[in-house]
Every structure is written in C-alpha cells, then in structure tokens.
Amino acid sequence: MIEPDLTITSRSQLAEEVLRESGQEVNLCYQCRKCAAGCPISYAMDYKPAQLIHAIRLGMDDIVFNSKTVWLCSSCETCTTRCPQEVDVAKVMDAVKIITLRRGIKPTIPRVSSFHKAVLANVKKCGRMFEVGMMISLKLRTFEFFKDVGLGMKMFRKGKLKIIPSFKGARTTWRIFRRVKRIEKGNRSA
C-alpha cells in the first residue's frame, strides 16, 4: 500500500495568507470551472475566477497581483453559490483585494479602490453615505472628472441626490473605524 503523500496538502504562502484573511481553503478547488462559467464579469477578466484560484494555490503572486480580476469582481456571489467544493470564491476575491492593499501593492484598477476609499471616508465622517460629498471627494482623489457627471446632474434634478449631509451616527462610525484599525494593526504586528 502506498502511504498518502502529505506534502500535497501544503499551502503556498499566498494560499496561507488568503486562508488567514478569509477562512477559505483554495486547495479544495478541483478546477471544475463552474465559478468561471457562471461569473457575469468573467468575459472581461484577464484571469477567470478558477484561474485566479489556481494561481493563488500555486503561489504565483505576480499573476494574482497583476491581474485585473479581483477589481472587476462585482461581488455577485454566483461563484460562491455554485462551487461544488464550497470554496467561497467571492470571499477569496475580497481577501486578495485586502492583501493587495496591506502589502502596499498598487491595485491594477486604481479607481476601484479610490472609490472604496472615498465611500468609507464619507461613512466615517457622516455616519451615513452622502453622495454629493462623496462625488466631490472622489473627483479630488482621482483627479478625474466624475465619469457620470451628466447622469449626476439629472439625478440631482430628480431629487435623487441628497445635498445636505446628515451627521447622525457620525460619532459612532468614527469610533468603529478607529477601533477596527487598532485591532488590525495589533493583528499584523502579532
């Protein structure tokens, strides 16, 4: 009888980091590609979700961090829902984004993370989202005129955008953001 080879269960460093961040074991993936088949965005991705999972598994950091895939993901959860191996692929997508930022690597589509930053800064400051303020800060952040400025004006006329921020809950969000940061710093140095 052949003894099972335990080395096949070892993880690449990247797979290990993804596991720690998201609780997801990419080694469970058996490359059926169901995630890629159902992904609404895969047509626009340079690496399909199944390929990205495999690259993580093999520890191919250059492919993973140079790929646009995770920044194009719309978090629709189709992959997660359908994976027969119960890999939460959408959580892996999030984990790669978080690891990218943590390692100080420039995202392949910077405007996506700029948008996330602008929204969160807005929530932290106001407690609730305040779209007009967010658009302005986004413009300043990306030095790019807000893409949908025409649409924005139309929404404004329809009364769809709030112009006066509410600061309800701002003290609470401020506190939550600060504490999260503290814990995450502690985790990293631990």
Partner: protein
C-alpha cells in the same frame, strides 16, 4: 394585533431610492404593519467595506442590530438588498466564528444581540398577509418580470431566503395583486451593482442583456427590490439604449410601488415621478378601480 418591526432604511432609501422608502411605508400603512425606524442607524458599509476590511464590514451592520435590540425588537426589516445582505452577513459570521464575535463585540463595546432576525419586505408580505383583499385597483395589461438580482438570495447558506437560482416570492406577491408576472431566466443575473460607479462599460452590457431578455419574453415592466438594481436599470436605461442602439422604454418599478398602485394609493404618493423612464403611458387607461 398589529405587526411591528424595527426598520433599517439604509442610505439609499434616504436619497437615491426615496421612492422605495415612501412606497414601502405607504403599503405597510395600508396593511396595518408598523415600521419603527432604528434610531441613530449608520451605514452598513456595503461593498467598499467588505472589499477593504472584514471587521469593518461586520461591525458597521452589527451596530445597527445592537440599536434594534435596545428598542426591544428582535426582527429588523431591510428593504435594500445590499443592506439586507450585509446585516445577514454580520449575524452569520459572528454566529459561525466565536473569535470574530468577540472582536466585533469589543469594537462595539457591548454584547451582541442574542436573537435577531433580518427580513426583506418580500418576506413580511409573504407571511400570511391577505394582500388580495386590500386590492382596489386592477392593472390589466401589465406584464411584469420580477428581477431579484444577486444579493437577496445569494449565498443561500447565509441568506436562507427563497430559492437561490429561481426565486418566486416577488412573483407570488405581485400575482396575488392580480398582476401578471412572466417566467424568465434572468431573475438572479447580476446588474453590476457592486462596480456600477467605476466600470460603466461592463454595467451597460449586463443591464442591456437583462432588459433585452425582459423584452424578449414580452414584459412591459420590470419589478425590483433593490436600489442598486433600480438605479442601473432605470437611471442608466437611456445610456444603454444609446450605446446599443436599442429602444426599450421599460418602466422599472419597486415592487412596493406596484402594491401601492393596486391598493389605490395615488402615484405621487408612491414617488413614480422620480423615475427616469416614465410609467405614465403604460399606466394610463390601464387602471380600473
């Protein structure tokens, strides 16, 4: 006995999707369901939070559930599908992972709610409420496709709501109003809500495919239960038509607006005028009450 729930409107229902908020409240009023807005609620953090920090993405929604518990409530209604999903994630993740629960509790400085349930309006209207008897206005000729989008049903382990690939709850509600709904295969396709602000081209393609399919099955209106879906299908519809040289003119309703119309609530009390694609022509001559 009046039904009473804690209400979490979320940021969209206070701005972009105010018509979802007012039509939902109007319908609840009619049915004698009381919504008590959570005082001091904060943003759930939505996609930007879970793409940036797991703890933040759970702490923000959980704070709202703590506030609901302080009101003495155990059931929270969240009409926005994105909020609904994030509130459920907060409950699911803290229940599954004790160490996460401990961290969130220390961030919020309080024990987490012992029993808390988060519901979509689709669920409360499906729970043994007699909708048919509240109907005063017939809407013959309406052929609606119900578009559920991503986040109401996915991932099923966490959402535990309806059938994840082919949900029927919205169809059943609308059918019980005497309005026809059609079968179609795009119920839970993605509209690109999560990347709507940054990847316009992709969003235009996804929404184009959805509208195209709606038209192909013969629908003359789409019903939704999510502000992101509504924004993409309604607000961007003119842009989609321009890019693809098609003309849809498909009014997009929040399903609560259709309920309101069937209950005889005037359309200005349902915020229909706030939509980019007007439903006036479709509705004129249709209403019989």
């Amino acid at each position: 006995m009046t039904l009473e729930y804690a209400y979490y409107p979320g940021c969209s229902l206070h701005s972009m999707a105010a018509e979802y908020d007012i039509s939902f409240r109007a319908v609840c009023d009619k049915l004698g369901i009381e919504m008590r807005e959570i005082e001091g609620w904060i943003c759930c953090g939505t996609t930007p939070a879970h793409c940036t920090s797991k703890l933040l993405s759970l702490a923000l929604p959980m704070q709202n559930l703590c506030l609901a518990e302080k009101m003495g409530m155990t059931e929270v209604v969240a009409p926005c599908a994105a909020c609904f999903s994030r509130l459920k994630a907060a409950i699911h993740e803290t229940a599954e992972h004790p160490e996460v629960k401990e961290q969130i509790s220390s961030i919020l400085d309080e024990p987490l709610p012992k029993s808390m349930n988060v519901l979509s309006p689709l669920e409360i209207f499906s729970k043994g409420i007699d909708l048919a008897s509240a109907v005063t206005t017939e809407l013959p000729g309406l052929k609606v496709v119900c578009y559920y989008g991503c986040l109401l049903t996915r991932p099923p382990k966490m959402m535990q709501f309806d059938e994840c690939e082919y949900p029927m709850s919205m169809d059943r509600i609308i059918r019980s109003l005497g309005i026809e709904t059609l079968d179609w295969s795009y119920k839970t396709e993605c509209c690109g809500g999560g990347i709507s602000a940054t990847e316009t081209d992709i969003v235009l393609k996804l929404t184009h495919d959805i509208l195209e399919e709606a038209r192909a099955v013969g629908a003359n209106a789409v019903a939704v239960a999510c502000p992101l879906c509504h924004t993409n299908l309604d607000t961007r519809q003119a842009g989609i038509e321009k890019k693809y040289g098609s003309s849809f003119g498909l009014p997009i309703f929040y399903f609560t607006q259709l309920m309101g119309l069937a209950f005889g609530i005037p359309s200005d009390k349902l915020g229909l005028h706030r939509h980019f694609v007007s439903a006036d022509e479709l509705l004129s001559g249709m209403r019989k009450g």
